[in-house]
Symmetry: C2
Subunit: 254 residues, 2 copies
């Protein structure tokens, strides 16, 4: 497979940096081709603005429509087009980051904000004119896996943990970005207690990551529901006969 590794940590001499090196080496040993976007090393600009679209500042900027036009005309800024070319090349995407304030570091959020433009990753229409999303869309057929380091211990991020269940915290990324744009989300690989790891623990974490990467091509993805699978009504609400009376983000897994 072609695997694109997105890395968003400011310090290469960190646990995250060591695991990134380990992961890329393991993928190559498994026979995959790899590319990387090391966002800090690239000095990636995460801020969407008119410059992305060669937009004339004299007119009002409407991000969705303007990005779609720039994408279709090939006039997106060069840094965005380079990342889109890597995505087109990739069969699988690894997105590695430290969990900051229960989400992605800004440099990574802004990679999605700027690269996943309308017409490329969303707002793509099928032959019948319907918008393709949630299991279908511009990046359909690819797999994606989040690899996270988290300062907190695991218990606080379990189903009843005060920090929120990790699956729910990752819903915006795994369902709202990966699945929305068509990519299958492989279960995340999470390293808890990352602020307090002993040196001895490193080899175990490296081995665990290698094992996950070995099953990347075959692992069963999170069973998010397809928009067109019949489970949602025309307003995108789960039909009443499916898990009747239940709510919470977990209802979107079949």
């Amino acid at each position: 497979m072609n695997v694109l590794w997105i890395f968003a940590h400011p310090e290469p001499r960190s646990l995250s940096g060591a695991l990134r090196d380990e992961g890329l080496r393991a993928l190559r040993e498994l026979g995959h081709d790899t590319r990387q976007s090391d966002l800090y090393a690239m000095r990636w600009n995460p801020v969407v603005d008119g410059g992305d679209f060669r937009h004339d500042g004299g007119r009002r900027l409407i991000v969705g429509a303007t990005s779609q036009r720039a994408y279709s005309e090939g006039t997106l800024s060069d840094d965005i087009r380079t990342e889109q070319e890597k995505l087109v090349w990739a069969d699988a995407l690894i997105v590695q980051y430290p969990l900051w304030w229960f989400g992605m570091p800004a440099i990574l959020k802004g990679w999605f904000d700027r690269v996943f433009v309308k017409g490329f990753a969303y707002g793509v229409k099928g032959p019948d004119g319907r918008t393709l999303r949630y299991g279908d869309g511009g990046l359909a057929g690819k797999r994606a896996m989040a690899v996270l380091t988290v300062g907190a211990p695991e218990a606080g991020m379990g189903p009843r943990g005060a920090h929120g269940d990790i699956g729910d915290l990752l819903f915006p990324l795994q369902h709202g970005i990966f699945w929305y744009s068509g990519m299958s989300a492989v279960p995340p690989h999470v390293i808890y207690g990352a602020d307090r790891l002993s040196d001895d623990a490193y080899e175990d974490h490296a081995a665990a990551l290698r094992k996950r990467l070995a099953s990347l091509p075959t692992e069963e993805p999170i069973p998010f529901r397809r928009e067109t699978g019949g489970d949602y009504d025309e307003s995108l609400v789960l039909r009443p006969d499916i898990l009747p009376g239940r709510s919470g983000l977990a209802v979107h897994c079949a």
Copy 2:
């Protein structure tokens, strides 16, 4: 009250920009003092790196510990200290943004990443040595409200909507940032279908926002559970006798 308005939209001539102007005017007419951080206009840098802390690049950067030292020594970069001074001044915080990929635009996420450093907004210890958070902490006593524009219609963001319930999507911000650092989260003000609004609808939306702002000092906050309120065990897991057998982010509301 002293109200700090954080604004994160690239286009002042947008619905968001008009509502921001409207909101600030309404607050002043209500007798409040206002300040603003218009992140795009300020060309806010959202990327955490060693420069924030005058960190010597020769040594490994450990973000939490390094930020805490720079905060306590008063050596954080000037732009961060200016924002912290505004926060200290504020009794209430309005955080206004367009929902992009089910989260904050990078420029806003990076305002929290850079300004909410250890020792200021998290990692603050009480007299007994316990870390203060979830209802207590560096910003305790303040209120915060998210004001969002969302492209999608409302149904898809309801309790069983395919995009995820809006309360769950906002959990990382409202519970993981506001409440974690001690701020009470007032229910969010969400404008749905923002991509398809008629001009007629604007006055209704302006009136609805003014109404929400009028009740900002008195409105009942979201009843998130206090960490020290007895509902969680030592591992931060909800005690078994509270909502037994239930999970999902909503269990963290009393």
